[in-house]
C-alpha cells in the first residue's frame, strides 16, 4: 500500500523507469594527461557543460603523469573551481603506459561506467550523451566512437594521413574481422568490470592497445555498440604519425592476427 502512495507522488519515475535507471548510473571519465596545460581546462569545461546539460551523474578523474609544463597546477585550480567531488586528481610520478593509467584511474573511480577519451580536444564531450543513449539502447558492454561510419569523420588530416588511416583500417578489418569499425580510436564507454577484465588481458601499447581491447572484447563475447564521432586533430600541440608508429602498428596487427 505504501508503495502505491510513493509511486503516485512520483508519477514521473514510475512512467520512465529507463530514465530512473540512468539516474542511478554514474559515469567516470578517465583523462590521462601529459603536457596538456593548454587543453585540460578547456576539455574539463566542455565535459562539465555536456554533463550538466544532459543531467547524468559524473566525475572526472585526471591522471597526470608528472608533466613538466604544470598540467598538475592547472588541474588543482580546476578542482577548486568545479569541486573535488567532480574533479579528482590522481597523478603519478612519471610517464607510464596508458593501460596502467586506466588501471590507476579505475582504482579511484566510483562510477559503474568508465569513459575514456583524449584530453587534447580531438574528442568532443558532446558525444558522451549519445554514447550513453546507445549503451542503454542495446545494453552494450562497450560503446566505441567511430570516425569511419555515418556522420563520423576527421578534421585537419591531409590526403596522406587519410590514405594511411583508411588503408590500415581496411587491412585490419580484413585480417581481424573485429566487429567494430574504428579500432585505433580511444573515445569509448565501458562497463567498469568489462574494462577491468580487458585491461588484465591486454599487453600491447600505443595504437595497438586500443585495437587489442576490441579484439579481446570480441573473444570474450562482449557486445559493442558504435557512435559516429568527429575527430578534430589537435588544436594545440603536435600530433605525430611517423614511420615508427606505422611499423609498430603493423607489428601489433600481425601479432594479434597470429595469436587471437
Amino acid at each position: 500500500m505504501a508503495s502505491v502512495g510513493v509511486s503516485r507522488s512520483l508519477p514521473r519515475s514510475r512512467r520512465d523507469p529507463e530514465e530512473r535507471g540512468s539516474r542511478r548510473d554514474k559515469f567516470s571519465v578517465l583523462l590521462p594527461t601529459y603536457n596538456e596545460r593548454e587543453n585540460l581546462p578547456l576539455i574539463v569545461w566542455l565535459l562539465v557543460k555536456s554533463f550538466t546539460e544532459s543531467g547524468f551523474n559524473y566525475e572526472i578523474i585526471i591522471i597526470d603523469d608528472g608533466s613538466p609544463d604544470g598540467t598538475r597546477e592547472v588541474a588543482e585550480q580546476l578542482e577548486n573551481i568545479f569541486g573535488s567531488d567532480k574533479i579528482l586528481l590522481r597523478p603519478r610520478e612519471k610517464k607510464l603506459g596508458l593501460g596502467t593509467a586506466y588501471i590507476h584511474g579505475m582504482k579511484h573511480a566510483t562510477g559503474n561506467y568508465i569513459i575514456i577519451m583524449d584530453a587534447d580536444l580531438s574528442h568532443h564531450p558532446k558525444f558522451i550523451p549519445e554514447f550513453i543513449r546507445k549503451q542503454k539502447e542495446g545494453n552494450f558492454d562497450i560503446v566505441s566512437g567511430t570516425r569511419y561510419k555515418g556522420n563520423g569523420g576527421v578534421y585537419g588530416w591531409d590526403l596522406k594521413r587519410k590514405i594511411i588511416s583508411r588503408g590500415a583500417n581496411f587491412i585490419t578489418q580484413v585480417l581481424l574481422r573485429p566487429g567494430a569499425s574504428d579500432l585505433t580510436g580511444s573515445f569509448r564507454l565501458y562497463r567498469k568490470e568489462v574494462l577491468q577484465k580487458l585491461i588484465e588481458k591486454c599487453v600491447s601499447k600505443g595504437y595497438v592497445f586500443q585495437m587489442e581491447m576490441i579484439v579481446r572484447a570480441r573473444q570474450l563475447n562482449y557486445t559493442i555498440g558504435e557512435v559516429p564521432i568527429s575527430f578534430v586533430d589537435r588544436v594545440y600541440g603536435e600530433s605525430k604519425l611517423g614511420g615508427n608508429e606505422i611499423v609498430s602498428f603493423l607489428k601489433g596487427l600481425l601479432t594479434l592476427f597470429a595469436t587471437t
Binding site: 585550480q77 556522420n151 569523420g153 576527421v154 587519410k162 578534430v232 587471437t260
Partner: protein, 93 residues
C-alpha cells in the same frame, strides 16, 4: 582457432581444390580443354581482382572521408567561450 589459422585453412582449401582440378588429367579426371585453359591462370585473376577491390574500397573511402569543418568551427567558438568563462571563475591559464 586464431585468425591466422582460419586464413591458412581457407587458402589451403581453395588451393587444393584448384590443384586437384588442374592436375585433373593425371588423376584420370577429364575436363574440357576450355575449362582447363580458364582454370590454369585462375589464382592470378583472383589475386588481381582482390587487389583491385582493395584499392577501390580504400580509394572510395578516402574520397568520401567526411571532413568535419563545422565540428572544428564549433570547437573554436566553444574554446573562446570556455576561456572567457574560466577566467571569470578565477582560473589562471
Amino acid at each position: 582457432m586464431t585468425k591466422l589459422a582460419q586464413w591458412l585453412w581457407g587458402l589451403a582449401l581453395l588451393g587444393s581444390t584448384w590443384a586437384a582440378l588442374t592436375m585433373g588429367p593425371t588423376l584420370g579426371l577429364e575436363l574440357p580443354l576450355t575449362c582447363r585453359e580458364v582454370l590454369w591462370p585462375l589464382p592470378a585473376y583472383l589475386l588481381v581482382t582482390v587487389g583491385c577491390f582493395a584499392l577501390g574500397t580504400v580509394g572510395y573511402r578516402v574520397a568520401t572521408f567526411h571532413d568535419c569543418e563545422d565540428a572544428a568551427l564549433e570547437l573554436q567558438t566553444q574554446i573562446q567561450e570556455a576561456r572567457a568563462d574560466l577566467v571569470r571563475k578565477g582560473l589562471l591559464f
